[in-house]
Amino acid sequence: MSSVQIQQSKAVWESPQFKKRLKKRNAAELRFKYYGLGAVILGLIFVLSLFVSIAVNGFSSFWQTQAQIDIYFDPDTLNADDLAGANYGKLVKQAMYKQFPDVTKRNEKRELSRIISIGASFILQRMVINDPSLIGTTQTLWFPVDDEFDMLYKHDIGRNVESGAPSRLSINQIIWFDQMVDRGSIESRFNKTFFTAGDSREPELAGLRGALTGSFLMILVTLLISFPVGAAGACYLEEFAPRNKLTDLIEININNLAAVPSVVFGLLGLAVFINFFGLPRSVPLVGGLVLSLMTIPTIIIAGRAALRAIPPSIREGALALGASKTQTVMQEVVPLAMPGFLTGTIIGLAQALGETAPLLMIGMVAFIVDIPSGPLDPSTALPVQIFLWADSPERAFLEKTSGVILILLSLLITMNVVAVYLRRKFERRW
């Protein structure tokens, strides 16, 4: 019988129909696999294009075109009685006129003086006030050029004058600028201002320090509030809470809050912290409070996972030695879960650092130049600065925006790497 049965069975599997179907099925298998691979590659392309486009646009923001000019600290212009209020712009203009003695027409002179950023006069003002002995001397100094020329030098934007397309730069200005380049008095230098200055209406003077400080203060407030509260909440829910309606309600709330649109948290901040408690607008304290409320659910969820991963044997061991439940949790369980808490906190803070929408609601979108010195000084934050600059008309702000994004992304990546490192370092398999 067997051989016949074998024949039969073989017949089924070796029939041409089956072989054909098999071929089809294997092709489908391969196709499906390639769809998956394609999806992964597409996803990676998205990641790459996002980062590359931002990096390509933003990298040049770390450099600033500067011009070298000889400044004569004219005692006539600098009145010793009012050094702060003197017309420093005039010094710069005079120096420029000296470089181009042919330029005599008033209109042309104005165009010429526009090559140098108005920031030059601020620099001179600071120099003279710090060291009045400079008056009467001549110094060779480097000044940032105006953003239009910065763009011209870096990206050749605005040069197409001859082609008839209008530009904000005149032919004369371009010729003068090129002459300065030929003379070697134009150089691209590291843009220190970008990291040390606050916001500005002049792209070449704008920096991210104000926003960075604002973000830092806000995240500090968030950390100080959300970490203890989140960790405590996680402990309660995982270790102490009885299983009842209230606990269920809390759980649903936490999970829901983690997915509530951030703009709704902005409405909460506006109504509760600003209108009800009367806290001032635009301050990092309020921003931090709002972000805390958003971060706490994240920390609680991560904290509970960390606590759940600790085997009951640890608790049983401590309890068997006569420790109370609270002692067990506080002295044995929590320290073991601490890496999990910290990881959750860092990830939550990284999210908070990138939030924008709720900050718009609580007025953190003003034009603020001064660097905030505390959580009650008005300030913006990095993401808001991105939003503000992204909307600015000056082309130079485009690269500044990408520059801030680069900084923000590298902060976020650092935080996530730290979180991953912590998780790896302290991870235990029970």
């Binding site: 099925r25 294997n26 298998e29 499906f32 696999k33 769809y35 998956g36 394609g38 999806a39 992964v40 996803g43 990676l44 998205f46 990641v47 294009s49 996002l50 931002i54 203890p228 509260v229 960790a231 405590a232 829910l237 102490f240 309600l249 809390i250 649903i252 709330n253 936490i254 999970n255 829901n256 809050l257 997915a259 509530v260 649109p261 703009v263 709704v264 948290f265 409405l267 909460l268 506006l270 109504a271 509760v272 409320l293 659910p297 609680i300 109370s324 609270t326 002692q327 650092l353 990138g354 924008t356 929408a357 609601m361 979108v365 993401p383 991105i386 939003f387 992204a390 990408s402 976020l412």
Partner: protein, 463 residues
């Protein structure tokens, strides 16, 4: 006394009471033959003493700070301006600011009643100073007395550890209750304003109206638009953008999750999974910028090739970028769901002679379906609530359209544009933002709870 001094005093006092109580418990222990005869370890007595000092002090401080200004103002007003009791709020406020400004700066804002004002301001300042002194004294004394009484009554029988533990537990409970308070806070902060709004605009008009044009005249003499608050165009706009986003995120997210979970080698997986998850960590404002910088021009050029006119601010551009943002949500949630399925089911299918893709399509996906649906609902909720991308890339035109090439506006964009800038809190225009916020909250709440319910039910099945 400034804030820091008070803080330091409070901290020092707490530690002092901690030390004193601890020491006293040690003394008592000595008398009765050793620490073992105490109910609790000495430091618990310290903790309780410190807590008994700090908790009442802080509560009173908080209470005081929140009411004292009001009380003082009322006292001053009733003392000097008894005849103003019936005046309207604006007048009172004006008077109060006159008093306060004089008290702070010595500047007189109005000439009438100058003498009375000056006297009132002096009185005000005096009361403020007094209140502060009284406040500081009372919180310190109150805390000290309670704590001191405890220290006096320390005995071997006092169950300090139990008390300390219940204090800790109370703090833990309070922390977990924050979630509920936040939800209540959200509801309350949008509900009142929304109710005010619905008193001006009927709910029916809001929910079913087909035209959205909230720029009603903000002054009587200004002729504005007629102020239509039909939110349907906003919801269709939101759904359109979310729809585009999901049609990008679902195939890419699902397929890549399947590939990474079922096909990819460990090496590929360990590289590609975190790389894709980077997308979840990128701030939304960056996506918004990416949309206007790269995607919108790209789509526009692409559209020109096809002969399509794609608005620079189109639902498509916003949706595509939002889809990119959501990919990791879909993929990592799906990945969780798929990898949670027992391997034995896969083996069973393979052992029947199924190919891998047949196993996935016929066994894995059907089994994981509830979990995947749950995670997709969460992703939809995320898409609906997303603000920055649409704010920067979708535009403001409230249009009732299903064409993703046009520019649309969404609920979140309108909330931001209605609120940013004009903080006046009684016009229907700003109130509309809260009504929208309420609707948005309710909508995402329903989605989230449904999704969580499905996911939880599903995960129970395989535990």
């Amino acid at each position: 006394m400034n804030a820091w001094t008070l803080t330091i005093i409070l901290l020092v006092m707490s530690s002092l009471f901690y030390a004193v109580a601890k020491k006293r418990s040690l003394r008592i222990a000595e008398d009765i033959g050793g620490i073992r005869y105490l109910h609790s370890a000495p430091r618990y007595y310290g903790v309780v003493a410190a807590a008994l000092f700090a908790v009442p002090a802080l509560s009173v401080l908080g209470l005081w700070v929140s009411v004292d200004e009001n009380i003082i103002v009322r006292m001053v007003l009733s003392e000097f301006f008894a005849d103003m009791q019936s005046a309207d709020q604006a007048e009172k406020d004006w008077l109060v600011s006159q008093i306060q400004i004089y008290a702070h700066t010595g500047q007189l804002l109005a000439t009438e009643n100058a003498q009375v004002l000056k006297a009132a301001a002096d009185r005000y300042q005096h009361l403020v100073d007094q209140s502060e002194t009284l406040r500081n004294a009372s919180i310190l004394v109150l805390g000290a007395v309670i704590s001191f009484v405890f220290v006096l009554f320390i005995s071997a029988k006092i169950r300090a550890r139990v008390i300390a533990e219940s204090i800790i537990k109370l703090f833990l409970l309070a922390s977990s209750l924050i979630a509920i308070f936040t939800t209540i806070g959200i509801v309350l902060s949008v509900l009142f304003e929304a109710i005010l709004f619905f008193q001006k605009i009927p709910v029916r008009d809001f929910l079913f109206g087909l035209e959205w044009s909230p720029q009603i005249a903000i002054r009587e003499d200004q002729v504005g638009s007629s102020g239509l608050f039909g939110s349907v165009p906003l919801f269709t706009g939101t759904l359109l953008v979310a729809g585009v986003a999901m049609s990008v995120a679902v195939p890419v997210g699902l397929l890549s999750a399947i590939y990474l979970a079922e096909y990819a080698s460990t090496k590929v997986r360990s590289f590609a999974k975190p790389a894709l998850e980077i997308l979840a960590g990128v701030p939304t404002v960056v996506y918004g910028f990416f949309a206007i910088l790269v995607v919108a021009p790209l789509l526009r050029d692409f559209g020109l090739v096809l002969g399509l006119d794609i608005a620079r601010e189109s639902a498509l551009a916003a949706g595509v970028v939002m889809g990119i943002m959501i990919i990791p949500f879909v993929s990592s949630l799906t990945d969780d769901v798929i990898t949670a399925l027992p391997q034995s089911i896969r083996e069973a299918s393979l052992a029947c002679g199924a190919t891998k893709s047949e196993t996935i399509k016929k066994v894995v996906l059907p089994a994981a379906l509830p979990g995947i649906v749950g995670s997709l609902l969460l992703a939809v909720s995320r898409a609906i609530g997303e603000t920055m991308i649409v704010l920067m890339a979708a535009g403001l035109a409230a249009r009732l359209t299903a064409n993703p090439l046009e520019s649309v506006t969404t609920v979140t964009v309108q909330i931001v544009t209605l609120l940013v800038g004009d903080q006046e809190f009684d016009s229907a225009k700003t109130l509309a933002a809260f009504a929208l916020g309420l609707t948005l909250f309710v909508a995402t709440l329903l989605l989230n709870v449904t999704a969580l319910y499905i996911v939880r039910k599903y995960s129970e099945q395989y535990e």
